[in-house]
């Protein structure tokens, strides 16, 4: 009995001693190991050289401890499942192996955190880190957000009145549009989906130019070739909107490759919604961008809806931000209704993308307050009170207004003046655009190729001859 006690006490002593030693010297390594298992962080330059350098030194420390007590060994085995001194060599690099079969969970214990600077009342969250904006920039950002909101409501009304055929609003995503544009330079190439007219607005596209495109008149720099909201402007480095979903994502990667080859200090940015991430193009583009190491920002506007498809029917991952690391792309999640958070994140992303020649994925969580387009009535598939709550309580424009007002940069007189002025300008722009002539017949045949081919020249000639022969059938509002 006594013998037993002695041995047991000795083993207890050893156990305790070992445990304490382990805890003191290797506690850091314990946590290190624990975090090492689900490794989603992009490898730093050091890691790439020898990812297990840190690993092995701690391994040796631990293995010497083992011989002190079997109890410790058991403890250890339950904590540390990998046999560090044995790694497997496979194409792609070394991996430690584990005798335990453990599946990586399909859903995380906790969702990826969302970066936010302003609270719901537009007040700075204490200890929040963000990029400072000057009064001038902040006021321009706010004015453009108001302009975008007003432009949307006027065009929407015009469509309902039958004056334009189609429109899609950006309500609820004004912060995404303007703040992201403000954080870029005009040298950066923009590849939009179709809910980012604010980026073009920030860069100087006028209200009249927006109206001309929506009315498809002769002053439209798109020559009346496309439906409303398919804006494009070389001058502003904003590539023409195409209706195909997510095709712009690999385009942006290709253009970023071109910038990289030119050694230009600029990046490409591409926008897409939560729905667009289901397209094959999205996956190919992210994979490629990581492999080719190009300066591109992937900006996902996760607004909860792809027409009537909610995100729960679109994917089962924790949003889009977790897809970045799957392709080796550094990613961040931001509050899409927080102007300062978006501004800061895009600014940082641009610097990283250009200086390190790497892609960045930004997921902005927001809500599509408006219908998908004028062809949609979203009250058919989602509750009205949900829409209204996001429209009022979570309005990004009002939230940013509170912040600039608290800085003394804005007041209600400025607000009234701005809104009435913009509305007046918009109504005037629509009137002018409506009265303007449609594009001339010649523009039917140009731009198919660089040089008009002979068959189209011939057809244009025949058309003009026919028009001359039958002048009464010629439509008066179609210029020749």
């Amino acid at each position: 009995m006594a013998l037993c006690l002695r041995t047991s006490s000795r083993s207890i002593l050893y156990y305790l001693k070992s445990k304490i030693c382990l805890l003191s010297s290797s506690s850091s390594s314990l946590t290190h190991q624990h975090h090492q298992k689900p490794t989603f962080t992009a490898p730093t330059a050091q890691n790439l050289r020898d990812p297990y350098a840190n690993f092995s030194t701690k391994v040796n420390l631990l293995s010497t401890r083992r011989f002190q007590s079997t109890k410790v060994e058991e403890q250890w085995d339950s904590l540390n499942h990998a046999h560090h001194n044995q790694v497997l060599d496979f194409p792609g690099g070394k991996v430690a192996f584990t005798p335990e079969m453990r599946f990586i969970s399909e859903s995380p214990v906790e969702r990826v955190h969302c970066y936010r600077v302003l609270d719901d009342n537009g007040q700075l969250i204490t200890s929040s880190k963000f990029k400072q904006v000057s009064e001038e920039i902040a006021v321009k950002i706010y004015s453009d957000m108001v302009t975008l909101q007003t432009m949307d409501s006027v065009f929407y009304e015009a469509q309902r009145q039958g004056r334009i055929s189609f429109y899609a609003t950006t309500i609820g995503e004004e912060a995404i549009n303007i703040a992201s544009a403000a954080a870029l330079t005009t040298d950066d190439l923009v590849f939009p989906q179709y809910r980012e007219p604010g980026v073009l607005l920030w860069r100087g596209f006028s209200l009249q130019e927006f109206a001309n495109q929506c009315f498809g008149n002769k002053d439209d720099n798109g020559k009346g070739r496309q439906m409303p909201i398919h804006y494009g402007s070389n001058k502003h480095n904003y590539f023409t909107v195409a209706a195909t979903i997510a095709t712009q994502v690999p385009h942006a990667v290709g253009a970023a490759y071109s910038l990289k080859m030119d050694r230009k200090k600029a990046c490409a940015i591409t926008y897409f919604g939560d729905g667009g991430t289901s397209e094959g193009d999205f996956h190919a583009a992210l994979n490629f961008a990581a492999v080719m190491e190009v300066p591109v920002i992937f900006f996902c506007r996760n607004n909860g809806w792809a027409i009537s498809t909610p995100t729960s029917d679109q994917f089962r991952s924790d949003g889009i931000v977790v897809k970045g690391p799957a392709y080796g792309v550094r990613s961040i999640r931001v509050d899409g209704n927080d102007t300062l958070a978006i501004y800061t994140a895009v600014h940082a992303a641009r610097e990283i993308a250009i200086s390190e020649n790497r892609p960045i994925l930004i997921e902005a969580l927001t809500y599509r307050v408006g219908h998908h387009s004028t062809s949609d009535d979203s009250t058919k598939y989602r509750p009205v009170d949900e829409i209204e709550w996001w429209r009022s309580a979570r309005d990004p424009v009002a939230r940013f207004r509170k912040w600039i007002e608290s800085n003394g940069w804005w007041c209600s007189e400025d607000e009234l003046e701005l809104r009435t002025s913009v509305r007046k300008q918009m109504l005037h722009a629509i009137q002018v655009a409506e009265k303007a002539d449609k594009p001339p017949i010649a523009e039917l045949f140009t731009d198919v190729y660089n040089v008009p081919p002979s068959n189209l020249c011939e057809q244009e000639k025949f058309l003009r001859e026919t028009m001359k022969r039958h002048p009464r059938d010629h439509m008066p509002d179609v210029p020749v």
Partner: protein
């Protein structure tokens, strides 16, 4: 010495033929100059264009380290480096989209499809992002891109590797579609395609890669270029016009030889470009011969022959002395077995029979289905 020669000659028909062909090769060496395989023609064209313009770059599966799935891009990675010869991951949609994006911003990509069958996974980018962009953007976005690769039937590769896409791409405004036959065509048209500001689909043929053709000094010059949209009259004739493109040009020329022995003088037109089709050359030829046979490997419905027939009916109906006949591949997915494959693709005898029908109508058309 005589003894050796006698031995060589006596060794059998095969060696005799070999010595004969060696002699004829020597003959051609001394008169026409060099011969060049289509593979070398394409390789040299790519090399020269990449050297002349730093914006030209090549991307596709296996184009770099592997030297090209069919060795078309041999030596280019070594010469120009990985920035200009990109080995891509396996995603046609991905790398085509990326190529188009690069072209949007001013680079001049040459995108290789391992075969054009795989281009179907990228066809949205070819049509909607490349072909239509200049028009949709009102001239703001030009896409100086070339999509190239082998097209049509090879030998024993089955249905998903033998499809001909000439009529698919040629139906889309905004694209140019080229179909070289000889090494001269390959060099001149590829250079023209790379220099062209519009998106070009360049349809090669796997079985032609290894074939040699004589090339003049002019063709070998680095500034050599062929005009897009101009067909070539490979062989002049006066009794019947035979139009063909790519590999079928060779078959049409062989058929013309056979027909000549029977007193029928066939004019063989190598289309070279499918879009824009050289309607004036075709029509001028038909107005001369009054009879037309079109030859293609692809499927019959909505094919290239259908378009040529319509063009001739529209412009030269009064000149036709016989209905236009089109020789095409069989209206079935390509079978694998060698005997079935042979039946599914046009052969020289089919062209000869059709030409005779056009001239005499002595042999009845194939029995109605």
């Amino acid at each position: 010495m005589l003894g050796i020669i006698r031995q060589k000659v006596g060794a059998g028909g095969a060696s005799l033929l070999r010595t004969r062909s060696a002699v004829s090769a020597l003959r051609s060496y001394s008169s026409a100059g060099k011969e060049m395989t289509v593979r070398d023609a394409l390789n040299s064209a790519l090399d020269e264009e990449m050297s002349a313009d730093p914006k030209v770059f090549l991307m596709g599966e296996e184009v770099g380290e592997y030297q090209g799935a069919y060795k078309i891009s041999k030596g280019l990675l070594e010469k120009y480096g990985p920035e200009r010869v990109l080995d891509t991951p396996i995603t046609e949609a991905g790398f085509t989209g990326i190529g188009v994006g690069a072209a949007y911003h001013g680079l001049r990509p040459v995108v290789e499809f391992m075969t054009f069958n795989f281009s179907m996974q990228a066809i949205d980018h070819i049509i909607n992002s490349a072909a239509k962009s200049n028009y949709m953007s009102a001239g703001q976005i030009s896409v100086p891109i070339v999509f190239r690769g082998p097209n049509g039937a090879a030998a024993g590769v089955g249905a998903q590797h033998s499809h001909c896409y000439a009529s698919w791409y040629a139906s889309c405004p905004g694209l140019k579609v080229l179909t070289p036959y000889s090494s001269e065509d390959a060099r001149g048209l590829l250079k023209a395609a790379i220099r062209d500001p519009d998106p070009v689909v360049f349809l090669e043929n796997e079985l032609l890669y290894g074939e040699s053709f004589p090339v003049s000094a002019e063709v070998l010059d680095s500034s050599f270029c062929l005009p897009i949209g101009k067909a070539k009259i490979e062989r002049e004739g006066k009794d019947v016009t035979i139009t063909a493109f790519s590999k079928m040009v060779g078959y049409a020329l062989k058929a013309a030889e056979i027909l000549a022995k029977e007193g029928i003088s066939a004019e063989v037109i190598n289309l070279r470009t499918i879009r824009p089709l050289d309607r004036s050359t075709i029509n001028a030829s038909v107005r001369k011969t009054n009879r037309l046979i079109t030859v293609e490997e692809g499927f019959p419905q909505h094919g290239v022959g259908a378009e040529i027939c319509t063009s001739v009916v529209e412009e030269s109906f009064g000149y036709l002395d016989a209905p236009v006949e089109r020789i095409t591949g069989a209206d079935v997915p390509m079978p694998y077995a060698a005997n079935l494959e042979r039946l599914a693709v046009p052969q020289v005898e089919d062209i000869v029979r059709a030409a005779k029908r056009a001239c005499y109508r002595s042999v009845p058309m194939a029995a109605a289905a």
